[in-house]
Subunit: 344 residues, 2 copies
DNA sequence: TTGAAAGCGCTAACAG
DNA sequence: CTGTTAGCGCTTTCAA
């Protein structure tokens, strides 16, 4: 940015004051007379003065920007979360740097380094599917950089977390399938490294158990990269479809896995729901106009984002070390549609 | 960020050198002996030294970050563009600040101010539907801040632009409808303020003309906010459907308008394509599994993003003022599916 | 109530 | 080849 911007010194010169006086006036210091404050503020406004945030950051040690780490932006759930984050952050004068991991642990580590390098004031993160340990996060958190987890959280005790009630969401979804007459329910899910996979699996198991249906381990297929590679979903699905005791329903555990599985079933010419019913987590707005309409479990992405930044900003701006950490749990919403309708 | 970071002075002290010597060594200056360079670099790496980018920015006057302005991130086209942008930017050491206008002129102006305030080195922008004049951009461009337009561009001559061939895309799409037997084709589009609306309208008109079909002005409905308010699409569609000479096809001009119109037609219980055929611009991956499969015009979002940043970074890093500006035009791809299949 | 001066961490003239 | 010094724009003691 080469273009000349007006700076403190300019307005000091113009008004016959010192830079420090102007700085104080602008910051409404008690040391400055009301009259000078007025003069300074009026002139500053007139010439549209803006303090250089870089210089402020250097001096003050914070940047008023926060980093977001998600697996990918091209996903309704995450873009809704980001909208929620921005809706609050901008209002409070923070701006937001978004980075994507593409479900890779290495890129996650790199992204975080990059964010720290950029001197952000705090991090909002949903872990990648590959992430098994969070040493890279603990370390910086311990050194004092605030971190808030959302969606895919870790079991680290010393930070805030925002999640949806994955257990209940999965339980209700599985129950809907069972109540519609499907008793052989496969589960295609993401990597067991991440929290949501475990919680959703537990909800699924509990629904089976409560209904007196035997849990079969080989009905559960993991996509270790969260569906990043189309191949892994393809493989999971064909394995499940070629079983001797072929399931008659599939419960899918994430946005991409749900829509991809649906698309593949259609490509395979499998009749939905007559041959295979399907119900899964996804935030797509097109669920009701798919063929057939897709049963979904919806997550309040916008609210997750809002809650997460609010906590983060509170952490950043807190004067004293925070010792109490909260975990906020938001409900999911089940939309039962034709893809899981009553078995004939 | 409170945690103590190691700085130049620390390593200077440790190695018995001056800060400037260390700085030069780290920057591989010709003034420094190979031996000291080696000593410095090794030690720096060992203690994991990272220069403070804030301080560097203050000194050097650039921040190695670029601003993106789009209408909304929750849109396949834009999230693909952003992926393209990041794929290049990160590799070149730039990071990216994304802002959304929500199709509002006021927010656009504010976002740009915010980005300038953040001292970004350049801007990548797709105009909001409300934007009629670009004085706010010309001014900063004239003052020397590089700007590259993509997708929704202005007619400002003094900058690079990346667009798709909207005219041909619309022409081919309309032709596909005509060739399938639909001759009463309505057009639901965005605000006529923005370039893509005009170009797509022209393509549509040309296809009609080349086919000997009379262009009717009242077959064209504008959504002044690009479909941000569901009401405007609803209104446009009901107006078009209630005409005496009701159209038998609709050509829709943007991602959100296409999917929303499709959804509304289904809600209205209009048979697609028997009563109304539909074909439109959208990058959704679900087109083929909608009911019925949706005919789409796809835009190479990722490539648009890549091209746009490459040009922007070239602009930013160019030593001498750039006088020659290019406009890159990328092709669209037509996917004809059942929603516009041959009229019985 | 105001100003002078130091310093945030780094780079770059200029000296040596 | 290396060190001294000044300065990027701002804030903040401290002195006046």
């Amino acid at each position: 940015m080469k273009f000349h911007t007006v700076k403190l010194k300019d307005i000091a010169k113009e008004l016959g004051l010192s830079s420090s006086a102007v700085s104080k006036a602008l910051n409404d210091s008690y040391e400055i007379s009301e009259e000078t404050k007025k003069r300074v503020n009026e002139y500053a406004k007139r010439i549209n003065y803006r303090p250089n945030p870089i210089a402020q950051s250097l001096k003050q040690g914070h940047t008023k920007s926060i980093g977001i780490v998600v697996s990918t932006i091209d996903n309704h759930f995450f873009s809704q979360v980001i909208n929620g984050i921005e809706s609050i952050a901008h209002g409070k004068g923070y701006n937001v740097i978004i980075t994507q991991t593409n479900e890779s642990y290495d890129i996650e580590v790199q992204s975080i380094k990059h964010l720290i390098f950029r001197s952000i004031d705090g991090i909002l993160i949903s872990l990648s599917t590959e992430t098994e340990n969070i040493r890279h996060l603990n370390e910086i958190n311990d050194r004092g950089l605030p971190i808030v987890f959302f969606d895919r959280v870790s079991n680290a005790p010393n930070t805030h977390k925002i999640v949806v009630d994955n257990f209940t969401g999965a339980y209700e979804g599985t129950m809907q399938l069972i109540n519609s007459g499907y008793h052989r329910i496969a589960h295609i899910t993401s990597s067991p490294n991440i929290s949501i996979t475990i919680e959703r699996l537990e909800g699924y198991k509990k629904a089976l158990k409560d209904s007196g249906i035997l849990y079969k381990e080989d009905y559960v297929k993991y996509c270790m990269h969260g569906g990043k590679y189309p191949d892994e979903i393809h493989k999971a699905l064909t394995e499940v479809l070629s079983k001797a005791d072929r399931p008659n329903a599939i419960f899918t555990a994430s946005d991409r896995i749900t829509t991809s599985t649906f698309t593949l079933l259609r490509e395979f010419n499998v009749q939905i729901p007559d041959e295979i019913a399907i119900l899964g987590f996804t935030n797509t707005q097109l669920a009701s106009v798919l063929d057939p309409p897709l049963s979904t479990i919806y997550q309040p992405g916008f609210e997750i984002g809002k809650n997460a930044v609010e906590l983060l900003i509170k952490l950043i701006e807190s004067k004293r070390p925070v010792k109490e950490y909260v975990t906020t749990v938001l409900p999911t919403t089940l939309f039962a549609r034709a893809s899981s309708k009553m078995l004939k």
